[in-house]
Amino acid sequence: MLFFVTQNHPGGTAPAPSTPCKDERSCLHAYHAPHGPATSGARHRSGKQGVDVSEQLSSRQQQQPPLHTAHMTVEPYARQALAAGRYREAIKHYRTLAQTEPESTWAEGLAAAYRGRALELAAKGMPREALAIWENREWRCPGALPEPEQIRLLLELDEAEAAQAAYIRMCEAGATEPLSRARPHLAACYLAAPERLAELDPEDPVRADGDTALAALAAYCTGQDEVAAQHLRTIPYRSPYRDFVTVLKALMIEPEQQLSAERLLEGVDDSSPFAPLAEAARLARLPDPELLPALTRVDEPLRRFATALRGWSTQRYELWRELFRPEAPQPDADLPAVLADWRSELGEQWSRRQRIRLAFQEVAVHGRALVLPEEADEFEQALLQAWCTECFQADDYTAVLAAWQAVIAALRADAEPVPGDQNALRIAAIQRRLASELGLLHTPLAAEAENALAESVTLDPDHLPGHRLLIQRHRDCGRIAQARRSVDQALARWPEDRSLLQEALELALHGEDFEGAADFARRILERDPINRRARTVLHDALLSRARSACAEGNPEAAHTALAQAETWADSAAAQAQLERLRTVVDATHGSGTKAHRWRARTLTDGRTLGHALALATEAELAGQPAATVLVQSGLNPPKRIDRQQLRDLCEWIHEVAAEAGGILGRALGPFAPALRRAVRIRTLDLDDYAAVCEALRAAGQEELRGRFAREALRHRLEDPLFTVHNLEARYANEEAGRPTSRELDQLRRAFRQARRSDDKRTAHRAGVLIKRLIPDPEHGA
């Protein structure tokens, strides 16, 4: 008889029994023995008479109660250990208690402690040890019913008979909730081996639904989906086979409806005994690159299942095992060995070529010494050597060339290739690679590369890019005659190819063969009527010809070229340019009357000054003095211009600046007096000044720009934009000297002000100018 003292309460008034914690209750709930008077009495007694000293003891004391008081104080320790999940300790304490009182008194706590410990060991992956604990529980607590987890463990460890016996005990006790958790495990076992659960009641759901599930499985495995579906429909929703039904339904869904299948499989809980089936089904739906490594992480039956679903043959599975070696400690397969072993299935030649590539990888990736495969022939050995040379001696052009020439020699070893045959195409591919991708054309070995390129065209005459490469090379080297020969050869094969015709057109123009060029242009336009490039190239070339003739004093040739160019002018702008050049030729070598015709045309749109500038530019392009041409054509600029004319002129400056370049400065010469006077036009506002400054900046007229900028600064002091224009114009070239400190201060203020007002463009310009004008202090300035 256990004696509980109340030492801490000499008056005999024991404190109220501490309520068992929630965890403890949850641990105790699994006790299903009939509550006999002894057990309930013990619990009542321990609660009433026992003293819960746990709160007053240190943790060390809690673990090791003093031996001389063990019989009095052990129970609180046992309860506390159980609640805290210290099951080994709880088992020890309850067994101590059982030595002083009948075991049945403490069976409830002991059973809970054994259960907790068994689950703990199972979770740690120690199923045998966990089973031993369950067995101890049965022995020490005869009244305790088996648990679903115990049945699951027994089945996992192939102890079906013991599991069956435990299940039958549960059924006899009528424990509904544990039974519903235990049944799916037995159901899985019944599907795996029905004969092992033969002692179950035929009315039991495991057997009653099991036969239907087996029939459905057999129908599914033989491809009778309809029959299988019929069987599945008869299995009730609350059957232990519910997860099996779900998995089988998912397996019968077509691969195209992957989403539906996945949704079904998600319904199978991870703790379900049918979860491995669901996992295998999910595996089988992975794409190959994910499936292959994923298979290593599951066990053999699952792999077999997933690969069978995937349609793998036994041979494929065996090869996968060799490649991925799921059970081997070192997962990297010996690929060359696998290639050798499986060469009959892989194909002798394919296997050999792959071994050469692997040999190269060994050198290039793993840095190992080059080992030539024994079975490699002369070509393969040379190829491997060339890869290695390219990889490790890429800068040694001679070595690279020699290595690939060795490959070509190997290809030629048996017989000289005939243009167009496979070996000829291989050689040509190598030669093109040498010239283009390996860039030998731009090295001291350019001559060899060029010869190779020329030979590639001979060996592979039907390869247009090869021809283009050769033509481009001739053009780059200025060998126009050779380029034209190559183009002619190519055109003989591809007369319809527009890029070749364009090439021929440009080459003809390069040789001043305008007739030939016009012929090619016509051929291009016949095939591609909206092609503008052919027209533009020819038109521009003829204009250049006319300008040259004008500069050489040959107006007839100029007019001839202009007449030809007129055919190819495809826009009003091109036509106007042509007319301007014609006016220049007439003004300098012909009659003033003809030159005045242009003036008459310009008067119609009212932008005389702009047209005059365009004409002046054209005159300078044709090597004629702009002032003379303007006078001859009656478009001499006026001495004074108004605000509108100034804006108009600025617009034209922007238009012609791009193509005229340095000529624009000379073309603007006749306009300079008018522009100088325009500085003082009273109606100009700051926008006008800004537009004029920008136009003059584009034309490189720095002196005039400075004037306009200073005038604008008179209207608005310290304006950042005009400050920058003024100082940019003043210090446009090196000869302008060094800026004063006052100017630098102005520039810095302009920079800060532009940044404050978020004028990024002006701030950027000011910044660039500051950098240019203030020398780098590191250079001692």
């Binding site: 199923p127 495995c221 690159p289 043959s313 792959q354 291989r426």
Partner: protein, 113 residues
């Protein structure tokens, strides 16, 4: 149980051999390769599997003409991957069904799995 399995792609497990990627014989001509490419792209459009589509496109670009096929043979140094070997030696057949024995092995005791 990890339901995500292995979502990370591994380049060493993609096809390195363009013929196997497209599922054509090594002596296939331009038309056969083009047809195989179109069929593969139809079966696996980019919106379904962008990675696979890109692999198909690259494979097609590598061997679509005879000259490209010869160049691939001469200049492509990538060795075959595991998937190449598997597809070459024992190509996947149509999706199959496990037999009852395989089912039982999965559901059987842990010791037997």
């Amino acid at each position: 149980m990890d339901k995500t399995l292995n979502p990370m792609p591994r380049p060493d497990l993609e096809h390195a051999d363009p013929y196997l990627c497209l599922g054509v014989e090594r002596d296939a001509d331009d038309a056969a390769i083009h047809a195989a490419y179109l069929a593969a792209v139809r079966a696996c459009p980019p919106e379904r599997d962008a990675r696979r589509f890109e692999a198909l496109r690259q494979a097609y670009q590598a061997i679509r003409t005879e000259r490209l096929r010869l160049a691939q043979e001469l200049f492509d140094t990538r060795p075959a991957t595991a998937i190449d070997l598997l597809d070459r030696a024992a190509p996947t057949e149509a999706p199959g069904r496990p037999d009852e024995e395989t089912f039982r092995a999965v559901l059987g005791p842990r010791g037997k799995r």
